[in-house]
Symmetry: C2
Subunit: 318 residues, 2 copies
């Protein structure tokens, strides 16, 4: 039996959680836990392509840059993002290989996990550029925030711990390295790609690419990537085992299998908040509508069981 | 005619030079210049695999880490190295694609340049581990250096601007992602791999990999990589157009084409210093001895001319 092809997407907080100090020990510990679950999936005879968030990591790199600005001028966000993708890719690829080794389940290849640094093409005319919505990087005082708005034209937002910069979150249009990723994935490699939604780049009239400051939604990029590599299943891993209607309310109802049509209806009814479940449902809808077999939303712990149809929320065409 | 396969190796200072402030503007400027030369080579109908140093970049990341240690505990060197490889790979892949676009010479593929994050296997028993020789990271005062030696067991060395840590420079044993790199290179992709000699990892008895603090010599890794991908030519780019005997002396003699035997003799006579031309000559010898057609050492400016046999120092089997 040919293994099903699965794109597995999870957030950057799978590696660096909000309670952590951002130290490498906790990142390594979290990376180990994450990769153990990824190896569970591989052991279940699925062929996987891994894509991850990078919010906490890019935030930390930008914060270090800001803190060291007497030494070096801070790097632009696309460059910080490239750094974070190198760092996360390295951790995931090494620990995944290690668990495979320990399970003696490395199949024919000795070292089958590789990271491909990915750029995601976005549209320079995307309305997101005139309406930045994604908070990123260090916290500033009100005074600093006002200075940033004036000097750099940044849009700032007040949050619990201070002011942060808002950057645009444009939609993905294409994945620049898509063909290379597809080639290697078809040949059986376990690929890590499109970290943090991919480094956002725009294309000028002469065809050249330029990095921009922004964050492409990682779930949407995952859906696009899954279609590019002809994946059967898009598996989105998050904090909950199943998606709920009326989440956190007395009449909360968990969802097992729903159709795209139902998902759209619940989405329209406002069951899925913009900052959390909303983009995951939207990505699931997109993937299935564009021809994917099914999308599954579940927790890390339940990932394999959900692929086997035993839990999770599954979104199908009909 | 099938294009010759060339592994192009150059130092991290091609992107960040000693006079630069480490700001992104100068890195972008240098990256553009570098990539223009790389595109010259591609336009000359050579199939290239790019490998680069990362000394200045990893140094900057470690320095920022050290400077921000009140915020976050500094990352180990392998993780900083992964960050630097993400950053450099992104710059080279984007600018190379852009020059190809401008030259309308992108052949059949639209976006043919990709970065593969690479780990290099080293031997845990390499004698280099008991004799660290490679200065890396921030400069410290004498007092700080003594504290580091005591607390962390680091070996420190005094340099012009202060004390620096010495890390081991073990020999490369294998390139973990070699098979994936070979696959993509054979299919016509322009690959960036083994940056900074690759992230050094050791293998434990159960087969698992662990990152270590050290620097694998990038020229040696380039020679190994060139054999793994069956390259015809190893092209090492440096500051000089040709290698010299008695460099900088009144009887300085430039070398055009030499045999491996001659190269070994000159090496034994002490013509090539350990910190600069020595490892380049050693890598050239290794590549040709292991079956490569020829190795060439020249400057960026002369790269294409040297491949066409018009300049540079060429090392051949006989």
């Amino acid at each position: 039996m040919i293994p099903k092809k699965v794109v597995v997407a999870f957030g950057g907080n799978a590696l660096q959680q909000s309670g952590d100090k951002g130290d490498i020990e906790s990142q390594f510990r979290n990376a180990k836990e994450t990769c153990k679950r990824l190896v569970d999936i591989i052991q279940g005879r699925y062929s996987i392509l891994i894509t991850h968030g990078n919010g906490p990591q890019i935030g930390e790199i930008m914060l270090k840059d800001e803190y060291s600005k007497d030494l070096f001028s801070p790097m632009p966000m696309d460059v910080c993002g490239a750094e974070s993708r190198g760092m996360i890719g390295y951790m995931i690829q090494r620990y995944t290989v290690n668990y495979l080794k320990q399970q003696k389940r490395c199949y024919s290849m000795n070292f089958p996990v590789i990271t491909i640094l990915t750029q995601t093409l976005v549209d320079a005319d995307d309305p997101a550029f005139s309406n930045p919505t994604k908070p990123i990087g260090p916290y500033y005082t009100r005074q600093q925030a006002e200075a940033m708005e004036k000097e750099k034209g940044w849009k700032m937002v007040e949050q619990k711990d201070g002011y942060r910069r808002l950057v645009p979150s444009p939609a993905p249009v294409d994945i620049i390295e898509g063909p290379a990723i597809r080639t290697l994935f078809a040949e059986g490699w376990i690929i890590i790609a499109c970290g943090g939604g991919g480094i956002p780049v725009i294309q000028r009239k002469d065809g050249t690419l330029y990095g921009i400051e922004g964050v492409v939604d990682k779930d949407h990029t995952a859906a696009m990537l899954a279609r590019i590599v002809n994946a059967d299943i898009l598996l989105i891993l998050t904090a909950v085992e199943k998606v709920s209607l009326n989440f956190g309310k007395p009449d909360e109802t968990v969802l097992d299998t729903i159709t795209v049509e139902q998902a759209k209806q619940y989405q329209a009814e406002g069951h899925f908040p913009a900052g959390s479940m909303g983009p995951k449902i939207a990505a699931a809808i997109r993937f299935v509508e564009e021809g994917g077999e099914k999308a599954i939303i579940t927790s890390f712990k339940c990932a394999l069981k959900a692929l086997q149809g035993k839990t999770g929320t599954t979104i199908t065409a009909s």
